[in-house]
């Protein structure tokens, strides 16, 4: 029921908006009186105000004011601006310029602020005037309103003779109307702007803008003010002396304004024709149109229109009928006084001044805003920099941490490496242990037994001395001496083994010392041999040595060089024993160690008759952890360590000469310093 009521109301409203007839307005007023729905009341009062706006400014004002109250009740800021615009326009047409300015400036103030976009009426509500399109975005609606009210303000300033200010408002209104896409408002704005230029007697500009306004009106199919546009174009032509052309425009203007119920246009067209006829000395026609204009102006009760009509009347009677002249001049003065009396002018100027102040304040606010914006941007920039700095710092920290990690890992790696070197030494020591046990037990066997037997021999010697058996004494003494020599020999032998073992197991002194190379080679050859024999009972290989007696002592680090020799010999024995496993009985495994000395270099060659080093791994054998032995049996560090000892520690070279199936020779060359 309620919905039906609303719907019928909206149909009425849509009838009412645009070219409202009095009868339509009366129907709407009845609905309004019965309506309790605020939104409906808002739209109805707005529609009625708009309908009256150029017909009955007093009524327009009254209904616009009603609308204003409702908009404030509903907190609809955009609609409040519309109401204030209607009020301002009504007051403008009522000749109350100060209050008109006040209302219009308030309306502008609201629509300049985007916050009014927050609460707008939805599309389901009909428009209260022909400029409203609720399907537009709130922003577009706002710009539409703003441009319209700015145009009203421009008219107001134009009417009050401040053309400069009027043009300023037109210039503001045009881009807003363009942004809102309102061809209607553009049409009206260009028209009134053209009229302003005409008032300034800038005919060319006037003609251009008027034509532009007319073109927009045609494009938009907007007919209401087309008459007014033609009227003003006619006025330009008239001012150019083209009376006939002007007359055609005036006549068309009168027709169109009448057709589209634009009564102000009707008045203006009649007065224009009257003026034209006056110039053409067609006095009757002139009077006819003045009277027609006056009738409509009286109906509209528009002070400006009445003023113009009375002025025309006074002009007409001047020199013909002084009474009538005086009568109309008096009316002119009366209206002029109403509109432009000192109080009104003062009020207007005050409001204008206030507006100037407001604009200044706005400028100040704008400047402050800009300053704040700059400050905020600066702060934002600083914040961003701080954030970037923080991230850089964190990044740096992470890098530092990573660096620390890497350094730590590197330290651990170095520690592990030295541990590995140690374990490589221990591994080769392990290989030696059995050999050493064997080697040491043999001399011990002799030392113990020769000592023990010597004790017995001494007893026998004593007995023989007692018996006076000199021959026996001599024989026993000879045996004793021989035994003691053997004890000494084997004691030294054991000592050598122990020293060799300690040499090998303890960390290198790192100090070069004159070392008997042949003795070193011999010692390690034996250790390696027995070590392998102890480990692998089936192992059997000939070991040969070809030691140059002229080698003598050479400045080397004995532990290190011994380690290299041991390693190469062990590898050699390993190679031949591998070959022994695969080849038949005809193969005689052998490992030979050769020493040579030239004037500048010492050479140690470890030669085996194994299978040789395959070509494809030849370039890898000195790399750390490279091993051909089964997993767990070789550390893969032996040759790598040997390489480092010879090249880095002794400044020499280590080369390999290998032939597949025939064996390998590892050749160590060390320069002899001094």
């Amino acid at each position: 029921m309620r919905l039906q009521f609303l719907t019928s109301c909206f149909i009425l409203i849509s009838l009412g908006s645009g070219y409202a007839q009095e009868s339509d307005l009366d129907s709407l007023k009845k609905v309004l009186a019965a309506s309790k729905n605020d939104t409906l009341r808002l739209i109805l009062s707005g529609t009625i105000a708009n309908g009256y706006s150029e017909v009955n400014p007093d009524s327009a004002y009254r209904y616009a004011d009603q609308m204003l109250q409702v908009t404030r009740l509903l907190d609809l800021r955009m609609e409040e601006a519309v109401a204030l615009g209607e009020i301002g326009y009504a007051l403008l047409n009522m000749g109350n310029y100060p209050r008109s300015l006040q209302a219009l400036l308030q309306s502008i103030s609201i629509t300049e602020d985007a916050s009014c976009e927050r609460n707008v009426l939805t599309e389901k509500y009909p428009a209260s005037d022909e400029f409203t399109d609720r399907s537009q975005s709130p922003r577009m609606q706002r710009l539409n309103r703003l441009s319209r009210v700015q145009q009203y303000a421009a008219i107001l300033y134009g009417n009050s003779g401040n053309y400069e200010k009027a043009i300023t408002f037109y210039r503001k209104a045009i881009p807003n109307a363009e942004a809102a896409g309102s061809l209607q408002i553009l049409s009206i704005t260009y028209t009134t702007l053209g009229r302003t230029y005409l008032s300034l007697n800038k005919k060319d500009s006037a003609l251009i803008y008027l034509q532009k306004g007319y073109d927009y009106a045609i494009e938009a199919g907007y007919k209401r003010y087309q008459g007014s546009m033609l009227l003003n174009i006619g006025r330009v032509y008239l001012s150019m002396g083209q009376q006939e052309l002007a007359k055609q425009y005036f006549q068309r203007s009168l027709r169109l304004s009448t057709d589209y119920n634009y009564y102000r246009g009707v008045v203006a067209s009649n007065l224009a024709l009257a003026d034209l006829y006056k110039i053409s000395k067609m006095r009757d026609s002139s009077l006819y149109h003045i009277k027609k204009g006056l009738v409509t102006a009286t109906y509209l009760n528009g002070p400006d229109l009445l003023l113009r009509s009375y002025t025309a009347m006074a002009g007409y009677y001047q020199g013909i009928n002084s009474d009538s002249t005086v009568k109309y001049q008096a009316l002119v003065i009366k209206i002029n006084n109403e509109i432009f009396n000192a109080k009104q002018v003062q009020q207007f100027q005050n409001i204008d001044f206030d507006e100037q102040q407001r604009l200044k304040e706005m400028e100040t606010t704008e400047r402050e805003f800009q300053a704040r914006l700059r400050t905020n941007l600066l702060l934002g920039g600083i914040f961003t920099l701080v954030v970037i700095a923080f991230f850089l710092y964190r990044n740096n920290r992470t890098k530092q941490k990573a660096k620390q990690h890497i350094e730590k890992a590197y330290e651990q790696l170095k520690a592990t490496q030295s541990q590995l070197i140690q374990s490589e030494k221990m591994a080769s020591l392990g290989e030696l242990t059995a050999g050493i046990a064997h080697e040491i037990q043999n001399p011990l066997n002799f030392v113990n037994n020769f000592s023990e037997v010597s004790t017995e021999l001494v007893d026998e010697l004593n007995d023989s001395i007692k018996d006076g058996n000199l021959q026996a004494v001599t024989g026993l003494a000879s045996d004793l001496k021989q035994n003691l020599e053997k004890i000494l020999h084997h004691g030294k032998r054991a000592d050598g083994i122990v020293k060799g073992m300690l040499h090998h197991s303890r960390n290198s002194s790192g100090i070069k010392e004159p070392t008997d190379i042949n003795a070193l080679v011999d010692e390690y050859l034996r250790l390696a041999y027995h070590g392998l024999r102890a480990k692998d009972k089936s192992f059997n290989a000939a070991m040969h040595s070809d030691l140059d007696p002229g080698v003598g002592k050479v400045n080397v680090i004995p532990q290190d060089l011994g380690r290299v020799i041991l390693n190469l010999i062990t590898n050699g024995f390993h190679a031949v024993s591998q070959k022994k496993k695969t080849s038949g009985n005809g193969f005689e495994p052998s490992v030979t160690v050769i020493t040579r000395r030239t004037s500048t270099h010492l050479q140690i060659i470890v030669k085996d008759n194994g299978d040789g080093v395959p070509q494809n791994i030849l370039d890898k054998i000195f790399q750390p952890f490279f091993t051909t032995k089964p997993a767990g049996q070789g550390t893969g560090l032996g040759l790598s360590m040997s390489y480092d000892i010879i090249t880095k520690v002794h400044g020499g070279t280590i080369d390999v000469d290998t032939k597949a199936g025939e064996g390998s020779s590892f050749i160590i060359t060390i320069p002899i310093n001094a």
């Binding site: 037994n449 037997v453 041999y529 027995h530 009972k537």
Partner: protein
């Protein structure tokens, strides 16, 4: 008279044994033979065929080692094979086990305690 073949690659073993058994040798209770490798020991045994022989052998020797010699002796001299006593390094249980498997009759540990050896040979106090 007991014939003992001593096999060791250490040449001084001869002087040591001759001194240690000088009484037994003088009393002609023991006759010592020496071989300095496994191969030499086998050659020696050939000459000493059918004579009762005690072999005292070292294990680690170049060429034919003690085990190979033991194996060869036990195969060649089936009835009755010579008594073979192996001389091992101290605590070398692996060698001990392997020698037992190959038929070693007894063991001596280096350094050799000759009083124990003589006990084993029933030469003490005789």
């Amino acid at each position: 008279m007991m014939k003992i073949l001593v096999v060791d690659d250490e040449r001084d073993i001869q002087a040591l044994f001759e001194q240690r058994f000088r009484k037994e040798i003088k009393e002609e209770r023991v006759q010592l033979y020496f071989a300095f490798s496994g191969e030499e020991a086998l050659e020696c045994l050939k000459k000493m065929e059918h004579e009762a022989v005690l072999i005292l052998s070292d294990i680690n020797m170049p060429g034919m080692n003690g085990f190979q010699l033991l194996e060869a002796v036990k195969k060649k001299y089936l009835k009755p094979p010579p008594v073979v006593m192996m001389i091992t390094a101290y605590g070398d249980s692996e060698n001990h086990r392997m020698a037992t498997e190959l038929g070693a009759d007894d063991f001596l540990t280096k350094p050799v305690d000759f009083s124990i050896l003589k006990e084993k040979l029933n030469l003490t106090g005789a």
